[in-house]
Amino acid sequence: MDLKEKLISSFLAFENTSAADAGIHQIRTAAFHDFEQKGFPTRKDEEWKYTSLKEVLNHDYQILTKNNTSDIDLNDVRKYFIHEIDTYKLIFVNGVYNSLLSSATHDGMDICVMSSAISKPKYKMVVDYYFNKIVNKNLHFANLNTSFTKEGAFINIPKNVVVSKPIEIIYFNTGEDAELMLQPRNLVVVGENSHVQIIERHQSVKENSVLTNTLTEIFAHKRAIVDFYKIQNDLDSASLIDNTFVSQQKESIVSINTFSFGGKFTRNNLEFYQEDERITSNLNGFSLIGKDQFVDHHTLVHHKKPNCESHEMYKGMFFENSTGVFNGKIIVDREAQKTNAFQQNNNMLIDDGASINTKPQLEIFADDVKCSHGCTIGQLDEKAIFYLRSRGIPEKEAKALMLYAFGNDVIEKIKIPELKERITRIIAKKLNVDLSLEV
């Protein structure tokens, strides 16, 4: 049985057990119907031209995870938390919420789980209003995620709240089931004038194959500020497909910062929709991958209204035979005059076998706009390396410093110092150097 067939039979079983969430039953069924018809994308699909799913799909994944909480030892996973600071935590193990490791709240806001949001009457209005509203229905994996919606993070911040500490969302895979497909579903609603910082991570603890197909919807109301950080630093047995959709209201500022260090396969679909004026959207990406790894960033910024900005900066560093894809689409509607849209994608190919496919895609229908895009593909500057070495810094460390410097403007965007330090340490480890790189 191939994965699609397996998903079909799993879906029937799943719907039978999920009667309680009747509210979204129709949405799930419609989404699945869509998936059933279209199946998985292939390289003939323009959006998947440089991205082969063949290996990712060729596994006997278990689709429906058991409901009993899998045991996980805090000491084993502590290192994945930003434990230097106090945070709200939503922790999931093999797709199941782990209340022991989590730190949720209903005090003046809801930082809790999707399973209760879709089953409890008091959340019905919120779910009805937001759920699946900004998901791009053309995306195969988004529909698939919607079909199997069951668990994930549910964050609902009312207006005028500055959430006092960051929210960490971590999905662990402990490898108890041989091969696992996880489909977390997150919904984030941030009210007028509110401010929240969120860190999301998908982490395997053991080396069994896992395919995570995650989806996050973010709604930012008037003047809301959302800083979202995605840490993608998983084992080589892990594949990740991330679908994130952002809808912004007037004068809101949303920043999505994606740090990709692997797993084996990573595909990010990130889409921004600007629904009113004077909105700022920031998309930052830092990719550093090596042997047999693949990272793909597909982004979309849709400028619908006048006087908005978007700033996109993606930096990629590719070692050995790794491959990167960047596809940055910007649409400026006829109505969206005075748009400022900037896009930048800079890449370093470190070794001969590495490659990057990069494609800016600008569709501009307004005439009074500033749009710029730039993409570069380069190699480490030998002169600079010699300069550092002549100061006593060995070759490996010299290269690491140069790469750190290259990616620095993305690292600088991290507003949580402890997270910045963590990312810096991950970079040093990835580059196999013992350097204190922090500035």
Binding site: D381, E382, K383, A384, F386, Y387, L388, R389, S390, R391, G392, I393, P394, E395, E397, A398, L401, M402, Y404, A405, F406, G407, N408, D409, I411, E412, L435, S436, L437, E438, V439
Partner: protein, 245 residues
């Protein structure tokens, strides 16, 4: 300290240095002068270990040991310092962090522990003062947006921090106005003692008014065609290089 014998080197089959001989002892200041294209910068790069150039013949000994097989960083660890004509800009790495990395990597190579942060900061402050460097300068990204003078002063600051046995100053005077030149030269003179040596590479004589050499060598077409005392520099200033060809 440094002994160069019959050094031939070049780049992609093009020979640039054609048999250099040079002896530098501790406590000495040497100057190498010569017209553009004579091989001055190649010589400094080859001594520092730049792998772009291939040594085809001859020897470079540093403290009685051949260094030709050593990597640039190993030469630095042994006490060779090259001040660059065009220092490289490295955004995102501050001057302080860079020098800390350089010092600690050098210490690591010698099996020593890192310098305690407090001691290092004090040392940085002392040396910055010696070279009249503003403290704010130290938290800027290395060479990024630095003026020509700031870049050169930063090079000498690094030299002060690393305390090399042999400092090679490659065209340190280029792009400097007279005030900056004086500060840089003054810094070099303060760092100079009987245990270290300086090799000044320059096109013009004016730097040598401030860093006074014990020996002057004229490089032409990859060879040292004339050596003498400091008065040779003045003679070159007056007559140009043509009379030596």
């Amino acid at each position: 300290m440094l002994s160069i014998k019959n050094l031939h080197a070049g780049i992609e089959n093009k020979e640039i240095l054609r048999g250099i001989n040079l002896e530098i002892k501790a406590g000495e200041v040497h100057a190498i002068m010569g017209p553009n294209g004579s091989g001055k910068s190649t010589l400094s790069a080859v001594i520092a270990g730049n792998e772009t150039y291939e040594v085809t013949e001859g020897e470079i000994d540093f403290e009685n040991e051949s260094i030709l097989e050593y990597a640039p960083e190993e030469r630095a660890h042994k006490g060779i310092f090259l001040s660059f004509q065009y220092p490289v800009e490295i955004p995102g790495v501050t001057v302080t962090n860079f020098i800390k990395t350089a010092i600690n990597e050098t210490r690591k190579a010698k099996g020593l522990a890192d310098v305690p942060a407090k001691d290092l900061l004090k040392l940085i402050r002392d040396k910055a003062e010696l070279l009249e460097i503003d403290r704010k300068f130290l938290s800027r990204s290395l060479n990024e947006g630095f003026s020509g003078g700031e870049k050169k002063r930063n090079e000498i600051f690094q030299m002060a921090m690393l305390e090399p046995k042999l400092a090679i100053l490659d065209e340190t005077d280029s792009g400097l106005d007279i005030d900056a030149l004086k500060i840089v030269a003054n810094g070099v003179n303060k760092l100079k003692n009987e245990n270290n040596a300086v090799l000044v590479i320059t096109h013009y004589q004016r730097l040598l008014d401030y860093i006074v050499p014990d020996f002057v060598h004229v490089l032409h077409n990859g060879k040292i065609v004339k050596s003498g005392g400091k008065e040779l520099a003045l003679e070159l200033e007056e007559k140009g290089y043509d009379w030596l060809k």
